[in-house]
Symmetry: C2
């Protein structure tokens, strides 16, 4: 069996390119980091600045400024939390939701093409494998988490 890390390295690089290639959709052009941020805000439930920064492993001061850019681009909205006014709740604007959805569709359609080279059974196996892998990575304490927490 080939070096395990090598397998991961190739896969994640390819997926990284896919992500990168889907940063320009329907007239919008965002950075890779911004794409990740939109994705996370879309998937978390009323997340705070800190929560998203931690999920992405981005320094909070850098992240704060990234959010400012996205607000200026009218893709993200910052709302002071009602329970705790120190906290900023992040959400996507209509425009931001549109972009996030467009990116998601583009990526999934590229991924569909990739999976078209497999049988349905293989596809199922691969997807189940990734799910299993994700759950095992989640179990690991030493590995696969951002530093400094």
């Amino acid at each position: 069996m080939e070096n395990i890390r090598a397998l991961f390295q190739v896969m994640t690089r390819r997926f990284g390119f896919l992500n990168k290639n889907c940063c320009g959709v329907s007239g919008y052009e965002i950075s890779l980091t911004q794409s990740h941020i939109l994705y996370e805000i879309d998937h978390q439930h009323q997340p705070s600045i800190q929560q998203v920064a931690e999920t992405l492993g981005i320094d909070i001061t850098t992240f704060s400024r990234q959010v400012q850019s996205l607000v200026k681009m009218n893709l993200v909205k910052k709302t002071p939390s009602v329970e705790d006014r120190r906290v900023m709740v992040l959400s996507l604007t209509t425009e931001g939701k549109y972009v996030a959805t467009a990116v998601d569709k583009m990526m999934n359609s590229f991924l569909d093409e990739v999976f078209s080279y497999m049988t349905d059974f293989e596809k199922e196996t691969v997807l189940r494998s990734i799910q299993l892998l994700n759950s095992c990575m989640a179990k690991s304490k030493m590995c696969c988490n951002p530093v400094g927490d």
Copy 2:
């Protein structure tokens, strides 16, 4: 089945953290990009600046400077090619090879821990799945490649 992109997004983020967490080994501290560069130089056969830059999808001018840093750190050696003196052949110094190997060992030991949460059969299935995935991504023309080539 959960959104396919979501599965990949989680997996690659976690592997990214793993990569990041293995950037400090036995007294050396390198950046994530530098780690990727060392890895590629180690795996390709006498690669040129251009080849590695293209593999990693890094702009060649940025890459040229990254290599300069690594040369200063005495991890990488640049040798003018004998056949074509415009070309710089990249190789790891003894020190660079040592660092690359240390990173690799650290990553593989963390990955071993992740796989310890699976049965041997599951592990085999997962690894085979990733191999299959990589080969299908390689087949795809539209997806998973760096832009601008």
